[in-house]
């Protein structure tokens, strides 16, 4: 990565809590992330509305190439979705 060193303190709000994952809106309209429970460190039971913080960086595109395998997985999923609807 060319810009990997830039680490930024970011805060967010817990917006969804599932048995196996939580979702977080990043403050400042900077995005949304969903992570498995084991990647969350907490001294308290996790509830919607709690504020979280993390150090993260920018997302850097590695190359111009498209990974056909992932494209096919995404297409397959979108097709399944349509079939359901």
């Amino acid at each position: 990565m060319k810009y990997g060193d830039k680490i930024i303190y970011i805060e967010g709000i817990v917006v969804e809590v599932h048995d196996g994952s939580i979702s977080v809106d990043l403050k400042g309209r900077l995005g949304f992330i969903k992570v498995p429970m084991r990647m969350v460190i907490s001294d308290y039971p996790i509830r919607v509305g709690q504020e979280v913080a993390l150090n993260m960086s920018f997302i850097e595109v590695i190359s111009d190439e498209v990974n056909e395998k992932y494209v096919s997985n995404i297409e397959k999923r979108n097709k399944d979705k349509k079939e359901v609807e």
Partner: protein
């Protein structure tokens, strides 16, 4: 971050740097100083430059600062007045006390363990990165020291007693595994086994779907080696097909198992979202499976692969993944029932596993940390059938407290793993069925394996410490000479992993930790008991590369861990870990083990032997 007096004493010979802005006239105390453990990071990031004439911590304590200086300024003679060497007497006292504590077990151990291999092993990443106050608070020594001292004395006495009466190994439990070879799997009118052919009832899915109202459909596919290039949904689990004979209980008596065929659980929700969708391993099978790992299929095996579809949006809730496993188990159970009826003469191999207790040898315990954060972080403990569902208790419902299993219960399918994230590092059900550490330790004639403790990893920190303290108490009652602690994958489970080390270590018991760390899974916390670490990484880049079971515990890791624990029990010091993950540490340790024991340790291959998927080539390994 300021340090405590204890830390200052431990680091007396390290360099002194102030942690915060410090006014002229201040008498330097430990609380003015920065923790030397983080200097390399500070230097890397350019925040700190240490001059040649920087003083040592022992020299600056009590000296008076003559100039106001900023944070992270190294202390040099020109800044201080009254630089003195820390009172020699006091320091020696500390050292002696420390030696006294250590030397007792050392002497007895060296004597008893005779030809123990002495190996220095320093591995794992720098573990002193950051210690949250909640953990550090529990680490303050003092109270611990008093607890540590009696333990070795007791151990010495115990060892002497044991030596006095040299007792022979005692077989306490036996398990017979009868293997039945399967060469062909086909659909037929009923589920049965004829010779080496397994027939699965054609319409079995119509019944399996009714197992749970969360399951909307289920499909069974038979994957032969020719189909290895087919697409598959994320593999949630790999399971042996085995059943108990008659009234035999799990972990003893007779077990029948099918060779050449495994059950593979896969699934999505109605919208096509993979169950446990984080780093999913959906895609072409042969590019996504690390063949031959304890938890993975072996190359050449036939898969009975289920594809369970569960109700929309239930893939992240506990009942969802469990329903997928239950529906699959309905099918497996029908095969188990057929296996019970097979004529015994068809068995191709009869394997007897014996659990020995070896009084007089070094008593050890294996502690396996399993995921318990909920949903796809759960495990069923001790089902009635090997890797079954019925009778198994989810460790989340048990409060994740430690549960003791006999090694044979582990190897007889006592753990049904629902864990389904982190494809490369999670331990599948089959992993426990062939757990290399349990097998190696159980069969090591120099060790007395007391049992295998499973402890769940809850989500919230205070629950983590609750279960960890219970673990400490259990281990205390066992009077063991050493312990192994393993964990799967990385994340907040490393917090309890560290706490388990502390709980065991503060009781004076040497402990070897095993985890995937490498580049990506570096430990988030650490403590002084985490000295003996074995990294389970196999991937060439040191990352979670989505290849099933790639970075899980293999025999080579078990061999290293055992050598390390024996060395630790003998009081050998290990070299501190290098700053950056270095794969060569493992190689040189393996070389040393081979030289010392004359035993050849073959290293397993990694993902480089697989056909490269485009994903790996382009995302991870850009050439």
């Amino acid at each position: 971050m300021a340090i405590t007096l204890e830390t200052a004493k431990e680091h007396a010979n390290d360099l002194a740097v102030v942690c915060c802005r410090t006014e002229a006239g201040t008498i330097i105390e430990a609380s003015n100083l920065e923790d030397p453990a983080i200097f390399p990071d500070l230097e890397d990031s350019g925040l700190l430059k240490i001059p040649q004439n920087c003083l040592k911590i022992k020299d600056v304590l009590g000296a008076k600062l003559i100039k106001t200086i900023d944070s992270l300024t190294p202390l040099t003679p020109d800044l201080l007045e009254g630089v003195q060497v820390m009172k020699e007497e006091k320091q020696e006292e500390v050292k002696e006390a420390a030696q006294a504590v250590e030397s007792r077990p050392v002497a007895s151990v060296v004597q008893a363990a005779g030809g123990v291999v002495k190996i220095h092993i320093g591995e794992g990443k720098n573990i002193n990165l950051e210690i949250p106050l909640s953990v550090a608070g529990g680490m303050v020594s003092g109270a611990q020291t008093s607890e540590v001292i009696p333990a070795p004395q007791a151990a010495v006495a115990a060892i002497k007693e044991k030596e006095a009466a040299v007792v022979e190994a005692k077989a306490i439990r036996r398990l017979v595994k009868k293997h039945f070879k399967i060469e062909k799997v086909e659909f037929g009118p009923e589920t049965k086994i004829e010779g080496t052919t397994l027939y699965i009832r054609k319409n079995i899915c119509e019944d399996a779907v009714n197992v749970s109202n969360l399951v909307t459909s289920i499909k069974v596919e038979i994957i032969t080696p020719e189909d290895y290039n087919k697409y598959s949904e994320t593999i949630m689990d790999v399971q042996p097909i085995a059943t108990k004979e008659g009234e035999s209980k799990l972990g003893e008596g007779q077990t029948r198992v099918l060779d050449g065929v495994v059950v593979v659980v896969t699934g999505t929700d109605e919208k096509g979202v993979q169950i446990g969708e984080f780093g999913s391993s959906e895609g072409v099978l042969e590019t996504n499976i690390m063949w031959g790992r304890p938890g993975a299929p072996d190359k050449g095996e036939i898969f009975i692969k289920t594809e369970v579809v569960i109700k929309e949006n239930t893939n992240m809730e506990r009942p969802g993944p469990l329903a997928a496993h239950k529906a699959t188990d309905y099918i497996t159970q029908e095969i188990r029932d057929a296996l019970k009826k097979v004529d015994e003469s068809l068995a191709t191999e009869v394997e007897e596993l014996v659990q020995y207790r070896r009084p007089g040898k070094k008593k050890v315990v294996i502690i396996k940390e399993i995921m318990g954060q909920g949903a796809m972080h759960d495990n069923l403990i001790l089902p009635v059938e090997p890797v079954g569902v019925i009778g198994g208790k989810p460790n989340v419902d048990l409060g994740n407290v430690p549960v003791v299993l006999s090694p044979l219960e582990v190897l007889d399918g006592g753990i049904h793993a629902l864990t389904c994230i982190g494809p490369a590092s999670k331990e599948n059900s089959r992993h426990y069925w062939r757990e290399p550490l349990v097998i190696e330790v159980m069969n090591d004639e120099e060790l007395d394996l007391a049992g295998v403790v499973f402890v769940g990893s809850p989500q919230v920190n205070n629950e983590k410490f609750y279960v960890s303290e219970r673990l400490g108490m259990i281990v205390e009652t066992m009077d063991v000479d050493g312990a192994f602690i393993t964990t799967e994958g990385f994340g907040n489970n490393h917090i309890d992993f560290a706490s388990h080390h502390e709980q065991v270590g503060m009781r004076g018991i040497p402990v070897v930790g095993m985890s995937f760390c490498a580049e990506q899974g570096a430990l988030v916390v650490g403590n002084k008991y985490m000295k003996y670490m074995v990294d389970l990484n196999k991937s060439s880049q040191g990352i979670e590369n989505e290849i099933l079971s790639n970075n899980t515990l293999c025999r080579e890791d078990a061999v290293r861990a055992i050598a390390m624990l024996k060395a630790a029990i003998a009081g050998e010091e290990v070299k501190p870990a290098e700053r950056k993950y270095n794969a060569n540490v493992k190689e040189s340790n393996i070389d040393m083990i081979q030289q010392q024991t004359g035993r050849v340790v073959e290293l397993v291959a990694n993902e480089q032997v697989l056909p490269k998927s485009k994903k790996r080539m382009e995302i991870y390994e850009v050439e």
